[in-house]
């Protein structure tokens, strides 16, 4: 197939809403949404600030199966408040992970998939968003000891702030070319460190450091694929069945050793790939 034909025939995952993404991933007929929009659990804080709340607070949670394997999927709607984590949206993800953990403890294996499109904490609910993210972190660390917790950053929002830490805690991380993963948003770095350090308007520069392809080729993500529902679904179906003996976020000795070799010069994408060249071997 020519590139153009391939492009025309593929179904974009990035363009789907959070609910459509879950539906596309789960086995047909297996999706059961929890705390859906008709339960109307909205943010208690946005209205006080003249912002219209949404009936699901921008997070969709569903139980179901992927290729027969029991999972819970939580998907963030990047279109609502930049996918930011407020009290309710954060609590939905944390609770979904805690309930999956309880299932595993009771002897019923259940993996988790997190579809992350988020700028991090919702500043309008600042400290409650941060607290929910701490709960999410705790639950991922506990759950990944039983079953895969798969982070997916497809784009176009990317994954930032405390939720980038969540992505890094996942047992497996899948990214696309449209994805970016980083702790601090480009605007904030520019504000704090200056234009010379980080030019938030230079998109090729930003992607060269934090884009999905760079994260994958430097070993900071496990899977990389193009924006296609079918391909992403296949990759996740494979990941939920696999076991990871070691987690990247536990490799402190390796990373300290490499960082001391980084040298005083400013970072380049090539240098990062070079420094982390044997990272994958640490995870086997």
């Amino acid at each position: 197939m020519s590139d153009t034909n391939q492009l025309l025939n593929q179904h974009s995952f990035v363009e789907l809403s959070a609910r459509q993404r879950i539906k596309a991933l789960l086995d047909v007929g297996s999706m059961r949404e929890l705390l859906g929009p008709f339960d109307r659990i909205k943010s208690p804080w946005l209205g006080l600030q003249g912002i219209v709340a949404q009936a699901d607070d921008g997070v969709v949670v569903a139980k179901g199966s992927i290729a027969g394997k029991a999972v819970v999927v939580a998907a963030i709607e990047g279109d609502f408040q930049g996918g930011s984590m407020g009290e309710v949206s954060g609590a939905k993800i944390a609770t979904a992970l805690q309930l999956a953990l309880e299932d595993n403890r009771a002897g019923t294996p259940r993996a988790a998939v997190l579809l992350l499109e988020t700028g991090g904490v919702r500043l309008q609910e600042a400290n409650l968003g941060l607290a929910a993210i701490a709960d999410i972190h705790s639950a991922i660390v506990e759950l990944r000891a039983y079953q895969p917790v798969i982070g997916v950053v497809a784009g176009s929002v990317g994954c930032f702030g405390g939720m980038s830490i969540a992505a890094a805690l996942c047992s497996d991380l899948l990214v696309t070319r449209e994805a970016r993963v980083g702790l601090n948003g480009p605007q904030v770095i520019e504000q704090e460190a200056g234009l010379e350090e980080y030019d938030s308007r230079d998109r090729p520069f930003i992607w060269s450091f934090t884009g999905g392809q760079q994260r994958y080729t430097s070993g900071l993500a496990d899977e990389f694929c193009h924006d296609s529902v079918e391909v992403i679904k296949d990759k996740i179906a494979h990941l939920v069945q696999s076991e990871r003996p070691r987690f990247r976020s536990d490799q402190y000795e390796y990373f300290l050793t490499q960082l001391y070799q980084a040298g005083p010069e400013q970072a380049t994408p090539e240098r990062v790939r070079e420094l982390y060249t044997n990272l994958e071997e640490q995870l086997l």
Binding site: I41, E125, N127, L183, Q187, F209, A262
Partner: protein, 271 residues
Amino acid sequence: MTAQNRTQVWLDVLTQAPLTELELPASIVVAKGVLADQQSAYFIGVKPDENNPFPRARNGEVGLLEGWGLAKAVHWIIDQDADQNHKTPIIAIVDVPSQAYGRREEALGIHLALAGAVGAYAQARQLGHPVIALLVGKAMSGAFLAHGYQANQIVALDDASVMVHAMGKESAARVTMRTIDQLEALSAKVPPMAYDIENYASLGLLSGGLLQVQNIAQPSAEDSQKVLQHLTQCLEKTQQDGTDLSNRLGSKNRSATARVKELMTAQWHAE
């Protein structure tokens, strides 16, 4: 900035000499101390290092080396007690102005470095180490997530300079497209947005409570006794509260979280 960081002064009054058998970045300190009931504990702090090889992390920020250094320190403690039933308490002394903001940081994966620290603290708590965060200054955003937020109990010294927040005021104003005045006006009626520790306490997140001392910047012997006494009480509370973070639920200002948990749990089990 550097002179004001309180990590070292509090470590000085609460602990003995830092451990030397553990090789860590110069910004990470681990020291043993003795609590009011004669039980020993490990104290961990992040302090400014003007020679930090990463120039954007020289003022006490939690950067690449700090995230991985904290992870190493906490995993070392876990390993020390691996064969013991008794898990030594870990006290995180928290005065962290922010995470490090810079090109090197993003390029080399600061999000993963902080995940290293978060994961280590979470594992320590889940394995039964009582973990207490003692807030003696700023507890900001990603830096606090990496150093303190995974604790069983969070204790704050009751002082105007002690604050918890997701982002500094200037940046928060820019990101939300508000002026600082507008931000402050909103903070007065929306408790989770406020920067002061009383509003933070109203969210129910200070499971270890607020504690007054005479001099937060130059603690006296009396202050240190009072803090050690309080930490001992927190340890007792930890035994009742268990190893998860559910002791942060229950306040009116966090009732939506409790509601989500209750309703989702019911729906989860209903077939």
